[in-house]
């Protein structure tokens, strides 16, 4: 009886999108969200992770573990990036942390880049996922971060991916693109008078 009451109490105020979860999982996810909310962490990423698990028909325990882990990582990212960090920055920060970046790398990026860090952190995570050694990826992004625009960073990532696909060692491809190709890669990207671009590809 008490357990049922606790479950009902936990469900009060739960996001209706979480109705796709079974009651027990929903209650546990709601508890994690409540804890996150109490310390000022965003809950929308937690909801999306739970919904991803639900749509992918993952077991409830795995969904709860994923949400709990994400909440903890969001806390680490916020500590590194500062309390003013936006939700997209925190999510990208989590991706970078999970790619192996130390919190100090996130803090360094914050100190050198005036613009939002979402793209820089994301490119760092994506480079590592593509096989670029963490140190090379972090050094490259830190070198580009002070001046590169988000579009520049995307183009840099694509250029490295192309080089890797053509057979270049990931670390070498990254270094080459940073040291030599930066001006070439970024040339012609900024044209304020250009017509609206067609839909982009991810």
């Amino acid at each position: 009886m008490m357990l049922a009451l606790l479950l009902v109490a936990a469900q009060v105020g739960t996001d209706p999108r979480l109705d796709r979860l079974d009651p027990d999982t929903r209650a546990q996810v709601a508890t994690v969200m409540d804890s996150a909310s109490r310390v000022g962490l965003p809950t929308e990423p937690l909801i999306q992770r739970a919904l991803e698990g639900a749509t992918k028909a993952a077991p409830g325990a795995r969904i709860v573990a994923a949400v709990r882990r994400l909440s903890a990582d969001l806390g680490v990212a916020r500590t590194a990036l500062g309390t003013e960090a936006s939700v997209p920055e925190l999510e990208a920060g989590v991706a970078a942390l999970r790619a192996g970046a130390k919190p100090q790398v996130l803090a360094n990026l914050r100190s050198v880049r005036r613009h939002p860090l979402t793209m820089a952190l994301s490119v760092l995570a994506d480079l590592v996922a593509n096989g670029v050694p963490l140190d090379s990826a972090a050094a490259a992004v830190l070198a580009l971060a002070p001046k590169a625009r988000d579009a520049d960073l995307v183009e840099f990532r694509r250029a490295v991916e192309r080089d890797i696909a053509l057979g270049a060692p990931p670390g070498a491809a990254t270094s080459v693109r940073v040291n030599v190709g930066a001006t070439d890669v970024f040339a012609g990207l900024h044209n304020p008078g250009a017509p609206p671009p067609p839909p982009r590809r991810p």
């Binding site: 990208a92 999970r98 995570a125």
Partner: protein
């Protein structure tokens, strides 16, 4: 018959010389009226200022400007000639297969989505059962993939940054 002019003047003078009876409470009422604070002046300027701000907001629409200015249109494409249905699911549509069904032309499935700046995980759900990552986008790496089914990542940057 007309009165003599001097008699008329005398009568007027007598009338003017009669003492005027004054309400004894008059002094108190006057002092009360003086001491009473005046109601605040109903100036039109605050209303005009508020109206100007409101009109400016309606014209400028900062609440929609930020989202419109920063969001970007993305086209998601999957080549799946054998598929009978493909849905795009991700962080941007609550992982709901019904929200972003894809249209096909000769086995090329596509849909267009408006995305605000951020990092999004997504995947293609083929025939309602088979999960596929986007071959043209970064894949969620194993340490970040808790559910054992492939996903991709798209990051939307700010236009001004």
């Amino acid at each position: 018959m007309f009165e003599h002019e001097e008699d008329v003047v005398q009568r007027v003078v007598q009338q003017l010389r009669r003492p005027v009876a004054i309400d004894p409470a008059l002094d108190a009422r006057v002092m009360q009226a003086i001491a009473k604070p005046e109601p605040p002046a109903r100036s039109i300027w605050p209303w005009l200022a508020a109206a100007a701000v409101l009109v400016s907001l309606i014209i400028w629409r900062p609440w929609s400007r930020s989202a419109e200015a920063e969001s970007a249109t993305f086209q998601f494409v999957l080549v799946a000639p054998q598929a009978t249905s493909v849905s795009l699911v991700g962080d941007f549509n609550d992982w709901d297969p019904k929200r972003s069904p894809m249209r096909t032309a000769n086995g090329i499935w596509a849909t267009v989505v408006q995305l605000a700046p951020g990092r999004y995980r997504y995947a293609y759900l083929v025939n309602g059962a088979e999960w596929r990552a986007d071959p043209g986008a970064p894949t969620v790496p194993p340490p970040d993939d808790e559910f054992g089914k492939p996903s991709s990542v798209v990051t939307v940057g700010g236009k001004g940054s």
